[in-house]
Symmetry: C2
Subunit: 674 residues, 2 copies
């Protein structure tokens, strides 16, 4: 008695990430374009032309909807190809198609970004890192052997970059902080940081701009060495450091904890990128840049969500040390999905989960398989989804356990690991959740450090920082023509009908419809209505507009003031919720090119709402910001725990149905005394 | 290899609820006090003296701590006995001891409430309900047979009371709303409400005050009948109603969902009221009035929480119908713990949970056993507690699944079922969580109804209401002398040390200590610091004050304006967090007697902070308010689901330890490529 309802829909492949073969075909096609003069070697120099990334280009929504709904042809399958033209000084994005045998490429850079992308906006590639590390060895470490030995010890040094790389467009001056080469290097700073100028595409013009040692600044490595030798800078005296950041268990496994099993097999089915789970169906994928996403989420065959996707994970740090004082990480500009590595069975996801491989092509010379990098499982939450025990008048019990489907990736971007969950409940809710774990970013303790955090180990400051996460939520409630509604309560003084001389404050329902993008851009620093809805003009059986409510769970800190020139690159974080009119050219709230030019970002989300379009009976997209303020503390060593360190949004039916759909679940239980 | 650490401590019995025998002994003792003239029959008349409740009286904290810490004798075991003296016009609370063979009783009413408790503050007993129902039958239903038949049908009628019972002290005029006698009657209103005046202890003086039928008011049942017969009131025409509130499954069980098992046995141990779980130990209990609580919560033997307890569950409703227009429920005045009924295995808690029986004595004639009314289980949350995947420089993986211990009761108070969870994590966090499920309270749809909610069924309005929940959190961080600290971030414009002409806004840590009760009463309607800590003056290894952070998760609506005379009975709800100096006489934020005299409540929490005592290096208690605004919608039929409908508080170590204690767990996993 298999409960699968519905069938896998091969049309969902329209959202499928590229296959290994497709990546290869696109790579070959690009290599064949001799006029483009593109290298696909991983070690390509910055001064050459490099095929940086190949990723699925999801077709335009109208074409996809027509196809999915049987009203249009299958849209052509296309890839986005990102090329860093070092020889020509710019970045280009191409649409390449049709897959699997491409015959054309089209430059879509201007169309997508309304600007040219100078080469200075590019990500740092493996090719550039290799140069940077050899430069660093030659220009820094080869000159400070004595200091390394006396101050940092034998485990010196792994570098960790701080970003942005400067203070204005075009800058590529990176502060590199150095850490002991141990497990969890991120919490083993040695007190040494170097600023490299690697702006030129030609390494011969690179330079060491500044050096920071034990709280003191030097204009060059030589100045540091001289000051050190002359005793003009207080010395860091190396002593061996305990291995406090190691994750090796300190005790042997004892009795195992509780484990979950699907005794009668799993109740969901995964076919390629399509999932069926009880009344749910959806497609899933993983963008190398922005991360996990699902499309065409349906309940009982009716589409509720067109797209739910991770957009960005941003952090702003506070410090007195030079790298971190300006650190503002935009992970989607490094690549979130690209760091979705193998999940560990029984820890990252349950043993019996379904593990899915993904393939990616980013900063490599061939497509790479990431084994078991997405997991899908049904989880018994250990609590009722609903229940009632009656002992007034009637004696009965009815209830149902909360078993829900979870789709998860965990992306380890340097120090941090973000766990991304999309959860599908039998009551018709979908939850998007993120939790942070992994290592905090830390700095060497110097004068003034404690204004920016707490000491968490010997000479180590855990620096205060924010976590802001952005999700794109493209709900389509009974079609694409929707409105944005708010609901809240208000006390009104009313006279009691049976004793009119007596007044009482009585809660009233206050409903509003917000009709323009700017009205519907709900800032974090203002009071917003408690209920936010994407609603259809169509009504349910009781005459109420069918809607889904967006319930945001968030513990964010302060957003960077808009006065700061970097703020434009993260302007989505101003808003707890912002609603825009859907546009195929407004796909993401961030971009691959934002981190390395925060001052003139390729995507400035605030522009999406600057034109203040009508959002009345339009295809609406909600951009949800969540996150938390992180003031690190001793218990962040070795790793931040997930408990309490997260946020998310629950998409909840609100008069969408005529009753709770879970009443139809076969999991319901009722007990009536005999 | 059993992982239990530590031993059960029989001293934890100091917190144990009374045994069946102890209740009986106290009952017998009270019956023997002839001068008190107390009846223990369940059907005792309001005009007589009735032994309403027997409950554990937890000894004063200083005595308990001395005993627990081996520095004092075992405190005498005592019961609180509540007697409704109908013959004398007052309520008394007695301390009766020593158990199990009482020899004394002491009137503690004045000491506990600083007021006499007039009999009008009493709860409505089974004895009074029986009279009320017979009065209702005689004075109402026997007179409206035709209306019942034509308007309400054969399933008429079960009554559901609205509260408060009037508008000023001494009032006992209860609006009773009538519902079809079907499963989930609460969402089957018939459009008929009657206000009874049962203020007198003598039923012969009771009266029907007002009648409400289909939106119209009448001064008496006779007036309604006349108007009805003369066609002067629009008639409700009965038609059979679908059984939409039934919880009977509509489909047969199919394939079972995932189930959790303790393959090697459970990793916790329950001995009487004492629990051991890995590094945790604690005592638990259930107050008939306020509900679930734990005491003496220790991690690795060190006490962190002296008491964590449910205090109150309050709701304020909006309606145009007469009962609900003023409805403000204070569940602890009806009894929260008293409604902790049997939990259903596999739905309310996992199959393999430990189920504990409880015994209670409230509005009965003998102690009652409630089978399986608390459950305790370890749950695999299906996600890592922490993890890191390293592929920069180092290639390794370390992580640990999040298995935690849950202690749960579910209290079904009339329509609503609240699920109360206390969760103990291996990272040293404790979470208190509440979710609501069960039936919404509803009203018959009349003119103006839609200003107060949404229609959820034929002629049925789901009324807007608030859920406010109060927890008492008595943390003792390294002893009882603690301070209340706040931490937050602030952007400060600083000049970059290596380019002083360039300024940037940099996050700074802002720490404050709030030293008086009024400073530390953090109102819901004001901006409060993001981190709230109960801290010790003692420091951890890194020199920071050891503390636990209170992370409140809340979606509350508006609190009743303080201008309203009923607000005093729920003044705790003004504050997201309020900190008081611990007092044995300030045990609870609400009382058994608040509901029936909201205008002069036996406990007004705001008085605890009115004296504005110093909270610097004192024994501190945090009173936490959470909850959510509930705008009912079609999906609340038949039951509200738990997903998204909850709130709580996480107590998190923040520099309490020197590192994350979960690093010592035997559940840790590490993978290092060979
Ligand atoms: Ca726009
Ligand atoms: Ca939409
Ligand atoms: Ca006080
Ligand atoms: Ca305390
Ligand atoms: Cu963090
Ligand atoms: Cu509710």
């Amino acid at each position: 008695m298999h409960p699968l309802k519905g069938k896998h829909d091969p049309r969902s492949r329209v959202f499928a990430d590229l296959t290994q073969d497709e990546y290869t075909q696109v790579q070959r096609y690009m290599e064949r374009q001799k006029d483009l003069d593109i290298s696909t070697k991983q070690n390509t120099l910055p001064s050459e032309n490099f095929l940086f990334m190949i990723d699925l280009s999801v077709p335009n929504k109208a074409a996809v909807l027509a196809y999915l709904d049987g009203k249009g042809p299958k849209p052509e399958r296309q890839a986005t190809v990102v090329v860093f033209f070092g020889k020509r000084g710019y970045i280009k994005e191409y649409l390449v198609g049709p897959l699997p045998q491409p015959t054309y490429h089209r430059d879509v850079t201007q169309e997508r970004y309304q600007m040219d992308l100078p080469i200075s906006k590019r990500l740092v590639t493996v090719g550039e890192y290799n140069l940077l590390f050899s430069f660093m060895l030659k220009e820094v470490f080869n000159k400070i052997g004595v200091i390394v030995e006396e101050s940092f010890g034998e485990k010196c040094c792994d570098g960790f970059e701080q970003m942005p790389r400067g203070v204005r467009s075009g800058d590529r001056t990176t502060w590199m902080s150095f850490f002991r080469s141990m497990d969890g290097m991120y919490v083993h700073p040695v007190g040494f940081e170097v600023q490299f100028n690697h702006q030129s595409l030609n390494m011969s013009q690179w330079s060491v701009e500044r050096v920071f040692y034990n709280g003191h600044y030097f204009d060059s490595v030589d100045h540091l060495v001289t000051a050190y030798n002359e005793g003009k800078v207080p010395k860091i005296v190396y002593k061996p450091t305990p291995d406090y950041a190691s994750l090796k268990p300190r005790s042997k496994p004892l009795q195992v904890g509780p484990l979950q099993f699907n005794l009668e097999g799993s109740r969901y089915s995964v076919d390629n990128n399509h999932v069926l789970y009880l009344d749910w169906s959806f497609a899933f994928g993983l963008s190398s840049a922005s991360g996990m996403r699902v499309f065409d989420v349906r309940f009982k065959g009716e589409r509720i969500v067109y797209e739910l996707s991770v957009q960005e994970a941003m952090s702003v740090y506070g410090s007195v040390t030079p790298g971190m004082i300006v650190t503002k990480f935009l992970d989607a500009s490094i690549g979130i999905g690209r760091f979705a590595h193998e999940l560990t069975r029984g820890v990252d996801c349950p043993y019996q989960a379904t593990y899915v491989d993904t393939y990616r092509y980013i900063d490599v010379d061939q497509p790479i398989r990431f084994r078991n990098s997405i997991c899908i499982f049904e989880h018994n939450m250990g609590q009722p989804l609903r229940r009632h025990f009656a002992d007034f008048y009637h004696h009965s019990y009815g209830g149902m356990v909360n078993s829900a489907l979870v789709v998860r990736t965990i992306t380890a971007i340097g120090n941090y690991d973000y766990m991304w969950d999309f959860i599908f409940y039998q009551s018709g809710s979908v939850e998007a959740k993120v939790h942070a774990t992994g290592y905090i970013s830390s700095s060497y303790l110097v004068n003034g450090s404690l204004r920016h955090g707490h000491q968490v180990a010997e000479n180590v400051l855990g620096n205060i920082h924010t976590h802001f996460i952005n999700f794109k939520v493209d709900l389509d409630i009974v079609g694409v023509k929707n409105v944005f509604q708010t609901k809240d309560m208000e006390f009104v003084n009313v006279s009691l009908p049976w004793m009119p001389e007596h007044y009482a404050m009585v809660p009233h329902l206050v409903e509003n419809q917000l009709n323009t993008e700017q009205e519907a851009a709900l800032r974090y620093d203002t009071k917003t209505p408690r209920y936010l809805h994407i609603a259809s003009p169509k009504t349910n059986r009781w005459g109420h507009q069918r809607s889904y409510r967006l319930q945001v769970v968030s513990f964010t800190g302060e957003h960077l003031p808009e006065s700061q020139p970097e703020e434009k690159s993260m302007s989505w974080a101003r808003y707890k919720v912002a609603i825009t009119k859907h546009k195929d050219l407004e796909r993401t709230s961030s971009s691959l090119y934002s981190q390395n030019d925060m001052w003139s970002p390729a995507v400035d989300f605030s522009k999406y709402i600057a034109d203040n379009e009508s959002i009345e009976n339009e295809d609406l997209v909600a951009w949800i910001t969540t996150g938390f303020l992180h003031i690190p503390h001793a218990e962040d060593i070795p790793n931040t725990v997930t408990v309490g360190n997260g946020g998310g949004v629950v998409l909840r039916p609100h008069n969408y149905f005529d009753e709770d759909p879970s009443i139809n679940s076969a999991d319901g239980v009722s007990i009536i005394p005999g």
